[in-house]
Symmetry: C2
Subunit: 145 residues, 2 copies
């Protein structure tokens, strides 16, 4: 069951500049940053609010680390902007299987590692009204931290 | 001060079909629906989670009601997908003024009426890394419902 908006993924050309925009404009601070080599991104997570399920909602700012990453290709086509949205669940495996059973294409055979050690998968945007949709189970059983 | 992700605005050609997708795929139910003639949209709000500031996060599904609405023009150019993101604040007037003072273009002189009687304004996407960004103050002082 999807119990929160986990994050909004925003693609940018210059992560440092974008982090500074969100800090200077809104006061949002970096909660966590990492490089995800598999996804080909450098990212910063800005925590916006806690959520009623014990988790939190973030902005995830994404800069590609290589030209063949999906985010780099997306940026080349679309320019900067909202790249995907993500819903949090306690059971990404079960939810992905259930959603696949409804005819929505799930992009990974098995969940992969996302931000902060979470387990993630993606749903095909063409099956989701143009919205690249991620499902996330946080690393910690209680939600996030 | 922006204290939550208030909603993610998703533009679609067929609201009823999109509502049914979110219900059938994820179990999300319509919390509220309305027509906003000024914005030129018919919309459905799907409540996803409560937020730590006493409010909530929603998906806002938007179908244009007329061809000259900004959402209709956006759909003609981009196709279906994420149209904007919105942050919740107790003081949309004060936050919009402070953000304008930082050189970000605010699209309305005064906040207008948004979903569920909220007061809203928008920030120019070209000043926000390609992200059309809305600020929202809910109708009820305590947040949402």
């Amino acid at each position: 069951m999807l119990t929160r908006i986990d994050h909004i993924g925003i693609a940018c050309f210059d992560l440092d500049r974008t982090v500074e925009f969100y800090r200077a404009t809104y006061g949002f601070e970096v909660f966590h940053s990492e490089v995800n080599e598999e996804q080909g991104v450098r990212e910063a997570m800005l925590k916006i609010n806690d959520t009623g399920d014990g988790g939190a909602s973030y902005l995830q700012l994404l800069e590609p680390t290589r030209e063949d990453s999906t985010v780099a290709k997306w940026l080349a086509k679309n320019g900067e902007g909202v790249h995907h949205i993500a819903f949090g669940t306690a059971d990404v495996d079960g939810d992905a299987a259930a959603i696949a059973g409804k005819g929505v294409r799930v992009l990974y055979d098995q969940p992969r590692i996302g931000s902060m050690g979470s387990r993630i998968t993606f749903l095909h945007p063409k099956d989701c009204g143009g919205v690249l949709t991620e499902l996330v189970t946080s690393a910690e059983p209680s939600g996030e931290h």
